[in-house]
Symmetry: C2
Subunit: 626 residues, 2 copies
Amino acid sequence: MLKGGYWGKILWVDLSSEKISEGTFDEGFARKYLGGVGLATRIISETVTKNTNPLGPGNVLVFATGPYQAANIASAGRCAVAAKSPLTGYWGEANAGGHIGPELKRAGFDAVVITGRSTKAVYLWINDGKAEIRDASALWGLDAVKATAALKEAVGDAKAAVSCIGPGGENLVRYACIANDNHGYFGRGGMGAVMGSKNLKALVTRGTLKPPVADADKLKEVYKAILTRAKEAPFTAVNAEHGQAAAVVSREENGLLPMKNWAQDNWVDGAAKIGTPRFTEELQIKKWACPACIMGCHRKITNPKYITETGGPEYETLGMIGSNLLVDDLAAVVKANDLCNIYTIDTIELGGVLAWAFECYEKGLITKEDTDGVALEWGSGEALVKMTEKVARREGIGDLLAEGLRACVDRIPESKPFAVESMGQAAGAHDPRAFFGQTITTIASTRGSCHLHGFAEAMELGALLPEIGITEAIDRFDATKKGYAGAIYQDVTQFWNSLTWCLFYFFSGVSLGDEVDILNAITGWDVTPAEAQKIGERIVCMQQVFNLNMGMVPEKENVMPERLTIPHKEGGAAGQVPPWQAILKEYWETKDWANGIPSKAKLVELGLGSLEAKKALCVVARDYKD
Amino acid sequence: MLKGGYWGKILWVDLSSEKISEGTFDEGFARKYLGGVGLATRIISETVTKNTNPLGPGNVLVFATGPYQAANIASAGRCAVAAKSPLTGYWGEANAGGHIGPELKRAGFDAVVITGRSTKAVYLWINDGKAEIRDASALWGLDAVKATAALKEAVGDAKAAVSCIGPGGENLVRYACIANDNHGYFGRGGMGAVMGSKNLKALVTRGTLKPPVADADKLKEVYKAILTRAKEAPFTAVNAEHGQAAAVVSREENGLLPMKNWAQDNWVDGAAKIGTPRFTEELQIKKWACPACIMGCHRKITNPKYITETGGPEYETLGMIGSNLLVDDLAAVVKANDLCNIYTIDTIELGGVLAWAFECYEKGLITKEDTDGVALEWGSGEALVKMTEKVARREGIGDLLAEGLRACVDRIPESKPFAVESMGQAAGAHDPRAFFGQTITTIASTRGSCHLHGFAEAMELGALLPEIGITEAIDRFDATKKGYAGAIYQDVTQFWNSLTWCLFYFFSGVSLGDEVDILNAITGWDVTPAEAQKIGERIVCMQQVFNLNMGMVPEKENVMPERLTIPHKEGGAAGQVPPWQAILKEYWETKDWANGIPSKAKLVELGLGSLEAKKALCVVARDYKD
């Protein structure tokens, strides 16, 4: 019996038949798959196959909360969304802040599973145990800011959380994101395009129910100590004051920042222009926190010169559409970021794609004839803004760029070296040449190149996992144990993403042990850190099996992009290149995945031995027991 | 300069930007790619890549007419449509009668290229040189009969040709077809789903312009003699009286008819019930001819007991949803055929998929729990009708069946032997065990298993090509030269499909030489039968290159379905199995495609050496010179 942390209820919505139903799950199921991406992986793996068109009715879109959202925990204002990715054709997943996680939970559901495809524009309204498919014809075509306002008005509740798509999602830009209340974004893997393909404009959620907590006193006691520690951590203060923009200057120095499509060594003046303190001062930054968060890393720009209604650019954005294009024009970066927000486009992917296009332009492979006269010159804020518009509208060459890096390279084969991606997804702004711990995150994340799955850079920075044997930091240029760490941190981050917990708290002194203590207080379980890792390992393994079922050949896909095998000549990471093949080998050995294929013994150990046999013929609400 | 047969004008419609423009082509281009599928292949190959999602905005949908439609030639009332197939992921193409071909041509265009994706329901209205994208919100959801009537009314012209989709296309059934004026159907490869994915309800075309003819006197002279001969041919009379249903009984006898998912040997009583003469008498059949046709093989059912507003079942339909399911209930077959017509679903593919499902049911792999209680028993007309509804609406297991055979097998791996398909497309109702000449058509057509590409069964029946060296019939159970004939007939049928000419006239004594004579009179060219074959060979080769670019491995895809390697025990083809590997080898040798890969020398010979270099970055109207 579920004692706390869960309702044990999943909402199933089939847009084709307009059928809405409820399914349940039991404690065994919850402890095995936890929530967030774990829960989503379990459900999607059942019916999505190699033949499922990610933009067809057969794709299954899951929004899932985790056990933390039961209890008003700082760091738990997040939610996960997953489906087969239209960008990569493999596992697609995004995790974001905003209000949807807490509101969905308080509405009485742990997750929503959306199947089929409406043939007319609709939105889904979920409110205190009830759900309704509503007409959205009048909203189709609206940008995310306008749609959010209109939807709050339509449901008559300003506190309703709105997760919606703008024209990028409607136009099936393959890396369209989903906007949560204009400041949290389900960024990666094109989840917004999946919504667009289903003619689903938005999820609007609102709840006032109070989910059960197994041991409220214990939770209070455990949480108080952790919160005190987190409040005192230096990272909390920095993040609260500057947000993620604080990282730009230091990462230019240590070589982690991508510059000129990952080919330039230094950019001191540029970093100073788009990073802090200028960023904070010039934009007159204010905090914009997720529910219950004590950091508030999202940014509200208040300088009327720049003012936008969406969250300001964060580190990944400043890196990918700023430094990676050498755009030091802060106003242009802010503008393009705002366009991405209102059109719902992933800034990381856009930065990777535009860097490819800028380099093609430099090399004469793309000319002004192809771009309707726009000069794609390094550093051009004008080109950045114009191309963002073109991608969202699929106008001219924007139609090709909207298809992602692999489609671009298919059109200009000789540009392959300019596409810095793995599994078809652009690398995030964390150069593995600067932190070898990022190798696995860059090339062997289950959702394609990533910044959130693994992040063993944390270990190099001293954020350790003593509870499960990661007791000392290893120098960022030392390859020792980096494959091993890549595996362990991947397990742990997927445990966290399934909670659904915010990674930033890990840098504010909150440990794996702390997280487990909170989880146990909420659920009444006795999970150990080792079991926590095993839960994460199970989820990662299921995602790998999913990818193999989609036809992935790990040896072909888990490959370091050529550009990142060439060492920098100068700067903070001069002369360094991680021995990625050796790291990958160690990673696979740690996982017991020879050449990326999980062994049968491993599947059995993780309780996944019979998963394949469970394939369902129809996607319908069901009651899970495990 | 184009002297006749062409306007040299292509209409380009981008649904994303709502931009409409015109492009041109010159005589060299026309003589190289001809029209119909040839023209479509050339255009689609330019921009569609492995990464193009067939249901995404990047897919390019081409409707193309041919030079014959200039001149009111019987047999030329056809049109081609092509795109990347959402069913197979490879080359997708359908050829059909109806009014769209002639009307589009008389509207002043040789072809229409449709790119992008409207985010709201629209239809395209093409009328005497003008084109317009119009709102179709009110029509979305209507079946093809209702939509056709509404659209004729909307444009205020009962003579307008309507090519539209019903709910099958809107719901992205991967084998949705396109209905032409309720009696011609672009059946195969899911072209209706491509329209659905673009939110394009219909093309409505009307024209009163008279395309140029190079030598009208010569045409009159040549055509008169040919027409006289065709009128006198026995096949013309049979087809006029009974339509294609006439073939059911004889093909049950000779073993060509699929029975019980290709596993039964005889079905004498059943064939008599759904075939002629009962078919003609019971349904009180009337002719329903394409424009200018002297045969009129399409059927109008006039018995008020059965009456429908769409064309009656034809041979492929009677075979695939009749005999292949052992359904001898003519009323049920007529009903299911009508549902397919109004919902726009390919009857061939549906028959292949349902036969798979019926066999799974028989073997206990699918139960009543999966089918909402419908018993999928061999011969059940009720199950046939109910499942047709379920597929169109993607209801319950219909959602899986709507995805096609490969998706079905992915869900139940042990059912692979029940899926009689090649390249993911179900085999048409022509058993290669009965006519070895059908081997290549079944397993090595560029659009997947087929009945129209190649059809070297014709040679076995005595329809020869003496102009290019096919001078004698070879027995249907003799494998000699069947790979060679498979190659030659494939070239010739793609020449014909590009004209766009109806294959039935070949059985009414109209020869390749006749066709070339007509073509030359219309265009003013001096094409020889050898050049005609070369044109066809070029088109087939381009389609093969397209498929290779999509990732096809010919040795894995061009494989005889296991079921068709098991000989019948009795009946007209007892004990016979074509040596398909040897036939395939000879086919590839004839083509100069080692293992299915065209040699460089062959590409150069066909003038395709530089095609790859021509890849365009943006899909826009262009002027073709060749």
